[in-house]
Each structure stands twice: as structure tokens, then as C-alpha cells.
Amino acid sequence: MIRSLPSSPLYRLAYGAYVFLFFAFLVMPLVVVSILAFNDSNFISLPWKGFTLDWFFANTDERQGLFADEGMLESIRTSFSTAFFVATLSTLVGTIAALLFEEEQFRFKGVLYFLALSPLVIPGVILGISILLAASSAGSYIEDSLGIDIELFRPSYGLVILGQFSFAATYVMLLVAARLKRFDRTLEEAALSLKATRLQAIWYVTIPFLRPAIIGAFVVAFILSFSNINTTIFLVGSDPTLPIDLYSRIRFSSTPVLNAVSFIIVLVITCVAVINGFISREER
């Protein structure tokens, strides 16, 4: 059953088959949509009618490929810029939170830490509706008392960024804190005894040590934002992100363009995963 113990061929065969089936189950949806992105048919599924690149490049009345689909391209751009801002903001605050909880002692630390972890166990839908409620309460209060209408307090691009940031920062915090736990505190103490201020010690000693974790956390936050729907769906305004756009298309008008987009996402993510695999192997 483990490597050092013998086991019967039948057991090994059955176990191997199960592992194979599990991973087949895992990759099947991704492989199938990727292949069907090249199917010369107007339907999203089989039968196979031959190879075509129409669903990427065509621009005719009958078929509009991904790169001719202005709405889809626009939502992809929105998703990229949203994810960039979310990743930047949550990397910043998440790293600060990791430093705070690992290095400082203060009252109510436990309560604060619990709150910082809570997005892990709050369903995304709840996060979405409560931020929507609070934003609109704040918005209508300001409008009533000052007469100014602030766009951020209505479902909008900015509110999506804030909403996604609220949980992405937790993941950044955990990833950075995991590396900070392995940090040799004496290095910071050495910097302090050499007359560095504490801020300088953090900036010149601690942050460079944390850099790989910070970069990794940025990527994770970017991907979390890029694929999020549960929170986003309540906060989105007039410019949908890619998942919102895909969602409404799946519900109302599935065309093989969806396969084409899926193929590109799968391709990009696989590349990122492979690169990530290489980097983490080199680190070891």
C-alpha cells in the first residue's frame, strides 16, 4: 500500500485505475471545450464537423469569432484591469497585515486576526450582498445630507474592485505570513542595532526576503479576481467582467465563441501553472 510494502497486483491495478479515472474526471471538461473550440459547427457540442479557426477569427454575419466580438473583448479588458487593481491593493494590505500579525503585539490582536481570516469562511455571496448594502446605505446617506452622488457607492467598477479586495487580501496575508514565519528575526535585529529605523529594517531586510511570497500572492490575488463571480455579481455595474459576461451568455446564448474563450483561458492558466511549477522546483 505504501512504497515500502508489497501489495497484490490486483490492488495496485484497481488503485491505479481509480487515480487515472479521477484525473480524467478533472481534466475532461477542460479538454473537451478546448477541442470543440476548433469545431466547424454552429453548436457548442458534438458532432465534429471538421477543423476551423472561425470561432477565433471569423467576422461574418453568421459567425463572429472571439477577436471580432467587441463585447467579449471589452469584458476581457475590464477583467484584466480589475484584477490588476485588486491584486495591487490586496498585495499591499495583505502584506501589511502579515507583518502586523506576525511581528507586533497589541490588544485585541486575536479579534482582529479572526476578522482578517473570516473571509475564508464567509460565502462569497454574503460578502457581495453585505458590501452592496453598506455601500448603498453610505451612498444614500451622503446624497441626502450633501447632495453629491458618488459612483463608488453604486454597483460599479470601483465597487467590484473593493469587493474582490476584501477577500483577496486574506489569501495574500496567509501566503506572505507563511514565509514570514521562516524569517530569521536576528537579521532585522541586526539592522536595528546598526541604527536602521524599524521602517528601514522592514523595507531593506524583511521585504526583500518576502519577495517571492509577495509575487506569488500577487498572482494568486490576480487569478482570484479574474475568476470571481459570487461576490462580483452583486457589485457589477454597467461594465461586466469576463465571468459575468460568460455567465449571461451561457444562460441566454451559447455559441462556440464560449469554447474559444475557454480554450484561451485554459491555455494561459496551464502556462502559468507550468512556469509556477518550475519556479517552485528551482527554489527547492
Partner: protein, 285 residues
């Protein structure tokens, strides 16, 4: 050191306080308050239990709630059954190289995002989908089987997107397990069943608890799989919340439903932590 330290300390704590207060505490306080507000006969918002009363009076609401909870527990158990052999394989059987490749494979669906994977299952399971095509072609069936828009496809979707969160924590606890424990049991003549149920599973319990909590939380709060893969009858409680907010625009009722969902997930998580004697911090890592 006093002054300098406190300056840095404020620099660190202020952004964190802003994050937690503005994005977590105030919104959830507002959720709670809104859930107790309803319009009276004059159309003014006043304190009331009407939203919660509505939940208990309308059979469809609490039935959906109970069904969501029951299905979520079922999917969590299913995830454990499906994931445990895989976690054991990755943590104990496979070589380091194979394991790291398979873990990469495991993470890809997560990173690709739920929408693409749910869409993939629509393409696979539909009446004209890939699986039906294959089965018809091989002659196993004569008529397409209805798989999409049923509870079956919904469970597949929920399991698919959550199973990884069971595999990873169980795998990491098993990795730290000493092989000699299993070897000793084997030398003393224990059968495989005894080794698994008496040694491996108890050892992996912390990982199983973490995994179960995350899986349950993801499943109970999931919206896409029930909405896009489930049928008319597989209504999920998150869909009720969605309807209150974005279809009927009764935000106060939606807030009450949201708070009930939060209560349900917190209660189950608290129970799991209590039963296993773990802390929340461990779940995150």
C-alpha cells in the same frame, strides 16, 4: 525605541483596520440591521421581524434552506470519499516527481475558474452533449439520457469544484505521517481495512476537518453549479438571495436570507471545529 516603534505600528495597523472595518465589520453589521427592517403599511422602513417571518411562513424558502444544507453535507461527505484515496496516493504512494505533476493538474481547474469548468460540464452532460454522443455511438444506449439540468449534474458540478480543497489538506497531513506506523501495523498482521480505519484516517483527522469545512463552505455558498447545472427543482438558497436582490429588489428580505445562510455556515463550521478541537487559524493554512 518607543516613538519610532509606535510610528511603524500605526503605519501597519491603520490600513488593516480600514480593511477590516470598512469591508468586513460595517457591511455585515449593515446586513444584520437591514434584515430586521421592513416596510410598514405607510411604506416606511421600520424595525420588524417580517423578513424572518416570511422565511418561516413560505414553505419554499425554508424547504430550500434545508435542502441546501442537506445537499451540502452530502457533497462534503462525497468529496471525502472521492478525495481520500487520491490524497493518500499523492502523499504516500506516488514519487515526489509524479506527485508534484499531479498536484499541478489538480490546481489547473481551480485557476481556470468555475465558469469555464461549469460550461465544460454543460457541453459534456447535455442531451446532445459529448457523453451522450459517445454512448449512442458505442451503442450502449439508444436514446440520449437526461443528465444536464438535474440534481445529478448539480452534484457533479459541486463536487468538481470543491474536491480539490479536500485533497490538498488531507494530503499535507498524510505527508507528515511516519511510514513506519503503517509498516508496524502491517508487520503485526493488520489488514488494509484496519490500517486505514484505525491508523491512517485518525492520523489525517486534522486535514479532514479543514478540508470538510472549506468544502462545505464553498458548496453551501455556491451559486453557479445549482444555477447553471441544476434543474428547475434543484433550487439553491443562494439563488433565493440572488432573486431577492436582483429580481424582486426586496433587499431587506435578501439580507435576512443572507444572514440565515451566514448563520448556517458559521454553525456548521463551529460544530466541526468543536468536534475536532481545532482552531480557525489551522483551516486557512
Amino acid at each position: 525605541m518607543g516613538n519610532k516603534r509606535s510610528f511603524t505600528f500605526y503605519l501597519l495597523i491603520i490600513p488593516v483596520l480600514l480593511w477590516l472595518l470598512l469591508m468586513i465589520v460595517i457591511p455585515h453589521a449593515d446586513l444584520l440591521v437591514s434584515s430586521f427592517m421592513a416596510e410598514n403599511d405607510d411604506g416606511d422602513l421600520v424595525f420588524s421581524f417580517a423578513n424572518y417571518a416570511e422565511f418561516f411562513n413560505q414553505k419554499i424558502y425554508w424547504l430550500t434552506f434545508v435542502k441546501t444544507a442537506a445537499y451540502s453535507i452530502f457533497v462534503t461527505m462525497l468529496a471525502f470519499v472521492v478525495a481520500f484515496p487520491i490524497a493518500f496516493y499523492l502523499g504516500k504512494v506516488a514519487s515526489k516527481k509524479v506527485a508534484s505533476f499531479l498536484i499541478l493538474l489538480l490546481l489547473i481547474p481551480l485557476w481556470v475558474g468555475e465558469l469555464v469548468t461549469v460550461y465544460g460540464w454543460i457541453v459534456l452532460l447535455g442531451d446532445n452533449g459529448v457523453i451522450n454522443h459517445f454512448l449512442l455511438w458505442t451503442g450502449i444506449i439508444d436514446e440520449p439520457i437526461t443528465m444536464l439540468y438535474t440534481d445529478f449534474s448539480m452534484v457533479i458540478g459541486l463536487l468538481y469544484m470543491s474536491v480539490l480543497f479536500m485533497v490538498i489538506p488531507v494530503m499535507s497531513t498524510l505527508e507528515s505521517m511516519d511510514d513506519s506506523l503503517i509498516e508496524a501495523a502491517c508487520d503485526l498482521g493488520a489488514s488494509k481495512w484496519v490500517i486505514f480505519t484505525r491508523i491512517v484516517i485518525p492520523y489525517a483527522m486534522p486535514g479532514i476537518t479543514s478540508g470538510s469545512i472549506i468544502v462545505f463552505m464553498l458548496v453551501v455558498g455556491n451559486y453557479l453549479a445549482p444555477n447553471l447545472l441544476g434543474g428547475k427543482s434543484s433550487l439553491w438558497f443562494t439563488e433565493q438571495i440572488y432573486n431577492s436582490f436582483l429580481s424582486t429588489f426586496n433587499w431587506n428580505e435578501g439580507a435576512a436570507f443572507g444572514f440565515l445562510l451566514l448563520l448556517l455556515s458559521s454553525a456548521i463550521i463551529w460544530l466541526a471545529l468543536k468536534l475536532s478541537g481545532q482552531k480557525l487559524e489551522k483551516v486557512g493554512t
